[in-house]
Subunit: 141 residues, 4 copies
Amino acid sequence: MTPEQMQSALLISPFHRWLQLTVVSVSEEALVLSLPWREEFVSNPNGNVTHGGILAALIDLAGLYTVLAAGGSVSATADLRVDYHRAATPGTITSTSRILKIGSRLSTAETYLRSLDGQLVASGRGAYLSAARSFAESAPR
Amino acid sequence: MTPEQMQSALLISPFHRWLQLTVVSVSEEALVLSLPWREEFVSNPNGNVTHGGILAALIDLAGLYTVLAAGGSVSATADLRVDYHRAATPGTITSTSRILKIGSRLSTAETYLRSLDGQLVASGRGAYLSAARSFAESAPR
Amino acid sequence: MTPEQMQSALLISPFHRWLQLTVVSVSEEALVLSLPWREEFVSNPNGNVTHGGILAALIDLAGLYTVLAAGGSVSATADLRVDYHRAATPGTITSTSRILKIGSRLSTAETYLRSLDGQLVASGRGAYLSAARSFAESAPR
Amino acid sequence: MTPEQMQSALLISPFHRWLQLTVVSVSEEALVLSLPWREEFVSNPNGNVTHGGILAALIDLAGLYTVLAAGGSVSATADLRVDYHRAATPGTITSTSRILKIGSRLSTAETYLRSLDGQLVASGRGAYLSAARSFAESAPR
């Protein structure tokens, strides 16, 4: 999958278009995305801190596309865990994700979010349900 | 705290205004919020499924305001866990949250998201760091 | 499933025998288990605090058997989240679990652990992978 | 902290002695522990699969001692997340942990558990509350 193909797949989602996500790099091992800041992200205007929900959304979607890039199939996110390490202030956030497990039923990926100065602002993991097995896969042989 | 006071506090956040959140009811035991659907929430246009990141954001913020309503202080979300149970399709989502623990350093709340037909679409829990102790609290007596 | 049947199923596991678990009650909605204290549970001898790993184990297994009691199938725990609310000191711990979702591929249950005085010492949730579909279920029709 | 000092600190806990934990290496960046198999770990005698609760306990404690090794203070585990990737069968498990954040109030570490053949059997993260600030730290200046 090329970054251009990943970018197209990503932007099918209206929410991803609203987030203005950009694919930085993609391989079977890792996916790097870039999230520019926008004013609607602000949780607390006192300090312009980005809402934890935006960071959670980035960890969810970055992990999901990492599974796809690694050749896994995904029908839905099963669950998500996010740890918040530092306040994220205005500026582009870069997510770096890698696979923990590609499974036939459930795949898991972990994602690290860094601010422009390289600080880890949040990190987490998502578990993703595989798409239903196709006829060929589920049929007896 | 009245629903009107909670509503005002909630809408200080630009992200909460974008989400168009409404306070349904508030007490020391529970907080109920309402999230109307908007097109930018869509993750997969094939079925108009709401993005898991939006549901994660709602679980994060609903738990945080539940801690505030219960008299706890919050400086930031420490971490978040979300379980996705069913696809959320267009229609208002109602969140119901309750306290697990109000702590002097960390408080925890759990939140359940239901679609209009009462189905549980997602649920989860957030842990929230208390605001720094004030001079009076931290000073020796 | 009667409490006696659940008790027998539970004690097939050597680890559950070591934990000396007892089934208090079982229904399709809830499972209540009892965990007596033993000296090997102690994490910190200064205060005889029970190790978080023991409480995590109880939340894992209680949720899994709750899914079984509700008629779900389980092949393995997919993931686990535990929140620790108070130190657990010597004395029986009671777990109360209920279903969040019985799914064809993944089921989720939440569990609350209380000390003898009724205090919530820990709580959490497990997600459980369903047992592989049988030939009949996976074969094309 | 030398491995010998860490080993002594670890074995103050009766539960850690029961687990028969060994410190393999310790630095400010990483902690490696070794967990030999014992029969009481078995969850399902059909295949001798190690109980998820034992792996959760290892992730909890390994992260906690990683925070201590990095110079952080810990009063208690705040919360824990474990992802199970493969069944763990009889044989030594090696845990490798590293710091995500050392905070003044909350620290976070992640841990990876591998079987003898190097396969990732489980991984996860713990958040740890710092020890209460001393008089000198909390007093006004």
